[in-house]
């Protein structure tokens, strides 16, 4: 099975061939590197931009205004912060012009911890991004979802922020992307750029890739359960799945929801689950103050209060200025396996 970086690459290839994507660009996105995480290797519309994030977002907006369909990359979300007012502008262009203009553009950026990236390669962006209306925001946790959400993003008439959990970019999926070859090594030979001189290299794209689309706004019920709901996305999602398995062995039934889309998001799925279980834990790794999970928690309290058997809870990153490089520091800063398993176990046992 493809890993997430390969899935993204295949989706972008499909999109530039079939969905009208005109420009895939950003710092080191074009040849020879094809992205620091290899997500854009071998793509025919990929090009290298100047080292200028504001220029990248601005150019994407301009390309979209000019009738193109850009997919821009910010190399690490830690470097997107000097573009916030342009993101705000992209988000309000349709609204401010009373529907006159719209921006069909995608911005991809790797987010989160997990590669020991220290202070400027570990940050999350979901809390900040979900404060900017006018954008659709997605964050896959599997290669198949990454493929399907990116296909949807490339068909959108509106700006889409595609957050890539960098800890999962190299993780192979359990589900086959329609059209991908059965043999992983064959896939790698076809679409991974070789080390060394790449000037003569051309990828061999799988011929049967298709417009397999995952609708933006739909969550995925990953595991059914009856006593407890856990809602997460991105890097922490597989940790929640493993926690659910651990607790299943202890006789506790946990329902796992992969939100996948942060805006719009699948409230119906959360609601149905919480009404069934009465207990819910939200998990993400962005800093916990004014965190997107807090929004979900607030809505849960306001709308589902009488279905609750215990206070809804949030496990998120510590509200500290950065994620330190040392193993001990990173592990203490953002949710790890034990934090999630313990929180779920504690929530399961909570009695009034």
């Amino acid at each position: 099975m493809a890993n997430m970086a390969q899935a993204i690459r295949m989706a972008l290839h499909y999109a530039e061939e079939n969905l009208g994507v005109t420009d895939i660009f950003g710092e080191d996105v074009g040849a020879p590197l094809g992205g620091v995480f290899t997500c854009t290797q071998g793509l025919k519309t990929a090009w290298n931009s100047p080292l200028d994030e504001r220029g990248i977002i601005g150019a994407a907006m301009g390309i979209a205004l000019g009738g193109g369909r850009p997919v821009a990359e910010i190399q690490f979300c830690d470097y997107v912060y000097n573009t916030i007012d342009l993101l705000k502008l992209a988000g309000n262009t349709c609204w401010a012009s009373n529907g006159d203009w719209n921006l069909p553009m995608v911005v991809r950026t790797p987010v989160g911890s997990g590669i020991r990236g220290s202070i400027y390669h570990s940050h999350s962006f979901d809390a900040t991004m979900t404060h900017i209306p006018g954008w659709k925001v997605v964050m896959p946790s599997t290669p198949l979802d990454a493929y399907g959400l990116l296909i949807s993003a490339c068909k959108e008439q509106n700006p889409v922020m595609f957050l890539e959990p960098k800890a999962l970019l190299r993780v192979k999926g359990d589900e086959r992307i329609p059209g991908e070859p059965d043999d992983d090594r064959a896939l790698s030979k076809m679409i991974d750029a070789p080390l060394g001189d790449r000037s003569q290299w051309k990828p061999q794209w799988p011929a049967e890739l298709e417009a397999f689309a995952i609708p933006i706004g739909k969550g995925k019920l990953l595991r059914e359960g009856t006593q407890l709901t856990v809602v997460s996305y991105g890097r922490t999602l597989p940790l929640c799945s493993r926690a659910a398995q651990t607790l299943a062995d202890e006789g506790i039934s946990v329902e796992v929801i992969d939100l996948r889309s942060l805006w719009p998001y699948d409230w119906e799925m959360i609601k149905t689950s919480v009404q069934k279980t009465g207990r819910v834990l939200f998990v993400n790794e962005d800093t916990e103050v004014t965190n997107f999970g807090e929004h979900l928690l607030r809505r849960t309290v306001e709308e589902l209060f009488y279905s609750l058997l215990a206070p809804p809870r949030l496990v998120a990153g510590k509200f500290i200025p950065g994620i330190g490089l040392a193993d001990t520091l990173e592990m203490a800063s953002v949710p790890q396996q034990n934090d999630i398993t313990d929180a779920l176990r504690s929530l399961a046992g909570e009695q009034p």
Binding site: G58, A59, G66, G68, W95, A96, S97, N102, Q157
Partner: protein
């Protein structure tokens, strides 16, 4: 740096044909009367804020007249700032639209009552939405130019902003992205220099003798012109646009202009008599050259004043947008 041309000599005959001079004058008067009406509406409580471009008519009107008007990358894009009413009227817009935006009525054609005066948006003529943040348009402009270069044809991207805002990184972004040897872009980069950033003088903002000289470092052809002279502005814009159209390369044009009513209503919006008034100056020349008589020009102004007053009365009585419309257009529907 441009050498002064003979056309600046008041004794030399006006080098544009009469019909064009009359048209430019007509639009300059129309723009000035519109801006004065907008200011009046603000002062009478028929709007919350005024910002606009009185003092830039001599430059903005020729710009609109010279634009290749239409929708899509075959035509010119305009990424404007909020002093551009003269350009919009020259493109053929009716002034009542600006009055409606001032009164933030539901009928406001540029933002449906959502945005300030002077914040135009006109997709049918490739006018990108004007926004309040200073200079963001300079980061966006290279994108439309990239599409135009790729599509072929002679459409260009025009981006305008003030001198104070060139301190923002977006201005450098525009210079850099437009002039990369790997992909030079057809962008006409315009700075209208009124020598002020709200209350801060040029001395508090710039070390460079001319903003246009910043283009030199990037091998961008650059020029500073007198933006208070509509004839010079027309000719220089025409030349710069032709260069960008045919060479598919950027051009940096700095136009020295006046700020006739201050920064905005926040600074009072009163006439600043120390600044050069491009309209008065032009009318003196038109009269001296026998293009128009004082009486003709007075009649024109009176007629526009009456028209604008009537239009303002219409706008004043129109309904505000309904509260539930706040939810409209957050997202575009799939087309």
């Amino acid at each position: 740096m441009s050498r002064p041309r003979l056309i600046k000599e008041s004794s030399a005959p006006l080098p544009l044909d009469r019909e064009l001079l009359v048209r430019i004058h007509d639009l300059m008067v129309k723009t000035r009367v519109l801006e004065e009406r907008l200011i009046q509406m603000y002062k009478q409580g028929h709007g919350y804020f005024w910002i606009g471009g009185p003092g830039e008519e001599a430059f903005n009107v020729p710009l609109g007249l010279l634009m290749k008007k239409g929708q899509g990358p075959e035509y010119d894009y305009l990424h404007a700032h909020y002093r551009q009413s003269g350009t919009l009227l020259a493109l053929g817009e009716e002034p009542i639209g600006a009055l409606r935006q001032m009164k933030n009525t539901a009928s406001d054609p540029y933002s449906g009552g959502r945005n300030f005066a002077g914040h135009f948006s006109l997709r049918k003529y490739n006018v990108a939405p004007v926004s309040s943040p200073i200079e963001v348009q300079y980061s966006i402009a290279p994108g439309t130019a990239m599409m135009q270069k790729r599509v072929g044809g002679d459409g260009i991207t025009i981006v305008t902003g003030g001198d104070a805002g060139t301190a923002e990184g977006d201005f450098a972004t525009c210079l850099i992205w437009s002039s990369r040897p790997a992909n030079p872009l057809p962008v006409l980069i315009i700075v209208t220099n009124n020598k002020w950033g709200i209350s801060t003088s040029a001395e508090g903002q710039h070390g460079e003798p001319r903003v246009s000289e910043r283009g030199k470092a990037f091998n961008i052809r650059s020029k500073t012109i007198n933006g208070n002279d509509p004839v010079e502005a027309y000719n220089e814009l025409k030349e710069a646009m032709e260069y960008v159209r045919t060479e598919r390369k950027p051009f940096l044009l700095e136009a020295n202009v006046s700020r006739l009513y201050g920064h905005s209503s926040a600074s009072g919006a009163n006439y600043v008599s120390e600044e050069i008034d491009c309209l008065k100056q032009f009318e003196t020349r038109l009269e001296a050259d026998g293009v128009l008589t004082r009486q003709q020009m007075d009649e024109l102004r009176n007629r526009y004043t009456e028209d604008m007053a009537a239009a303002a009365r219409i706008a004043r009585d129109e309904p505000l947008p309904a509260p539930e419309t706040i939810w409209k257009h957050i997202f575009a529907e799939d087309k």
